[in-house]
Amino acid sequence: MSRLQVVTAPARTHDAEELLRINAPLVTEWLVEFLRDEMIRRRGFHRAVVGLSGGVDSSVTAFLCARALGPENVWGIRMPYRTSSPESLEHAQMVIDQLGIHSRTIDITPAVDGYLQYEPDADGRRRGNVMARMRMIVLFDLSAALNALPVGTGNKTERLFGYFTWHADDSPPINPLGDLFKTQVWQLARYLGVPEVIVSKPASADLIVGQTDEDDLGISYHLADQILYFLLRGYRVEQIEEMGYPREKILLVKNRLESTHWKRHLPTTAMLSTTSINDYYLRPVDY
């Protein structure tokens, strides 16, 4: 009697690159509609201000705003500090020129140094936070002058890592990129036509000379995004390790994620009543 053929399921593998792939034209269409709806229809703003760092996140945000509102309604604001890389300014200018949006350049050095002269021993982290918060002061003030809305540029990876200054980078009232991992922002950037030199350079907060995100974080965005993808879906460290990811990198990502929940929330308020805001008294942001 002939034996039956046996068909075995292949070993379970996860193509994380594939899982993180986005349909960039569809995402673009979605985010353009998001900007129009949330800015114009819900809030009555027709103009946007975007802080342009010369990096990929703010470039993509400017490209999306130009598509949604028209370049004549978008202001790209360059806010260099004296230690900022000249390359950052040049790359921001490339975006301004390519899109034909308005621009302003505000040197934040006098304002930042004006404060830091009283705190000469401030370390790099504190100095970086002062710069980030100063940039938000500028952005919000110019938005008031222009009757415009500041548009945020933070991506999902940095939000999950807490790799931003609280109540600074995260403070604009709307954010089109906040649910896209960094590697997904890169995909979107290439589809939108952001200059390749911006997309392919090492990401940097540019708060300290020579700084790069991946050095700061101790992991590449490609690896971090894949590990985050599985952690957010509830996979345990051991399961992710079985997929072939290094245990120390999984733990690094998990620790950053779990130590920064507070940065993704509003300040903690002591609850005293049964009408406590956002505990009992619940209204959505657009109500």
Binding site: I22, N23, E29, W30, F34, L282, R283, D286, Y287
Partner: protein
């Protein structure tokens, strides 16, 4: 019997019931004045307020009688000679509780003849992930079939459609047309369309084909606090084929003439509903056993 149906998707103004009733009326005016083919006009879930209201449900909820009166008043200036049926979703105040509900109304030239044919209160309330319905509204307890002048119909709301058993009950009770209203925020952007749009298309087609019924779906559009409702309202024939779809995200009206005579043809080709009816007694015993086992297990 042929029924001319129109599905409408527009972006409601958050929490502004009067404004959204105006927009419903404006749409009906367009349909009447442009003589669009419509016996039944279907609007999405929570079209009178927007979907994500949290505690704002208390402000936006209305009684069904209020909705009937408000809409029939707005309809009178342009009322047409033949009746016009309307299906719409709203937050309802009923017997001291709030519900996510749908009305099936008939509007007529004479205000006194405008009437409610049916109210469906959402049976399955999603309370996971981005959804929080059980926190703010009570659950409906029935899946009903009602008679319209075009035959038997049912109304389901969003997650009601994700459970095949709800559709099975409606089909067993004799519904030939399923009016399915939804509010589905877009998630998943890897494929050729938004992930939940593709899931919805599968659900609608499967439900239509399994029971040999027409499925008429109206789906909300517009962003609410960053969450974008997909639209792409869709009408599916009893063979499980899409007849027409409205565009993704955009405001639109989609129309189709549906023929209930196709139901018999579809069911003759695939008599799944008849098979279900034949096995129903056994299935009921199976279900009863499951319920009793669960009840006993939870006592331990």
């Amino acid at each position: 019997m042929k029924i001319r149906v129109a599905v409408v998707q527009f972006k409601p103004r958050k929490g502004d019931v009067a404004h959204n009733l105006d927009r419903v009326a404006e749409t009906l005016r367009q349909i009447v004045e442009e003589n669009l083919p419509a016996d039944v006009v279907v609007f999405p879930e929570t079209i009178l307020s927007g979907y994500f209201l949290e505690g704002g449900v208390r402000d936006a909820a209305r009684t069904r009688e209020q909705i009937l009166q408000e809409l029939s008043c707005r309809y009178q200036p342009f009322a047409r000679a033949e009746p016009l049926d309307v299906v719409l979703g709203f937050y309802e105040l009923w017997h001291g509780k709030y519900y996510n509900s749908a009305l099936y109304l008939t509007l007529e030239q004479e205000p006194a003849r405008c009437r409610i044919l049916h109210t469906h209160r959402k049976f399955f309330l999603p309370t996971y992930g981005v959804f929080q319905e059980k926190r703010f509204v009570a659950r409906g307890r029935t899946i009903e079939v009602f008679q319209t002048r075009f035959g038997a119909a049912t109304v389901l709301i969003c997650e009601d459609m994700w459970h095949s058993i709800t559709g099975a009950i409606a089909a067993l009770k004799g519904a030939e047309v399923f009016y399915v209203i939804a509010a589905s925020p877009g998630r998943g952007f890897r494929g050729e369309n938004v992930g939940n749009v593709m899931k919805w298309q599968t659900l609608l087609c499967n439900m239509a084909e399994e029971h040999g019924v027409w499925v008429v779906n109206a789906s909300l559009v517009g962003f609410e606090g960053g969450k974008g409702f997909v639209g792409q309202s869709t009408i599916v024939n009893p063979f499980g084929q899409v007849v027409v779809s409205a565009p993704l995200m955009q405001e639109a009206i989609a129309t189709a003439t549906i023929d209930t005579e196709e139901i018999a043809i579809a069911r003759a080709n695939a008599p799944l509903l008849a098979d279900l009816e034949a096995g129903l007694a056994d299935l009921l015993i199976e279900m009863q056993e499951i319920a009793e086992e669960q009840h006993t297990r939870d006592r331990q």
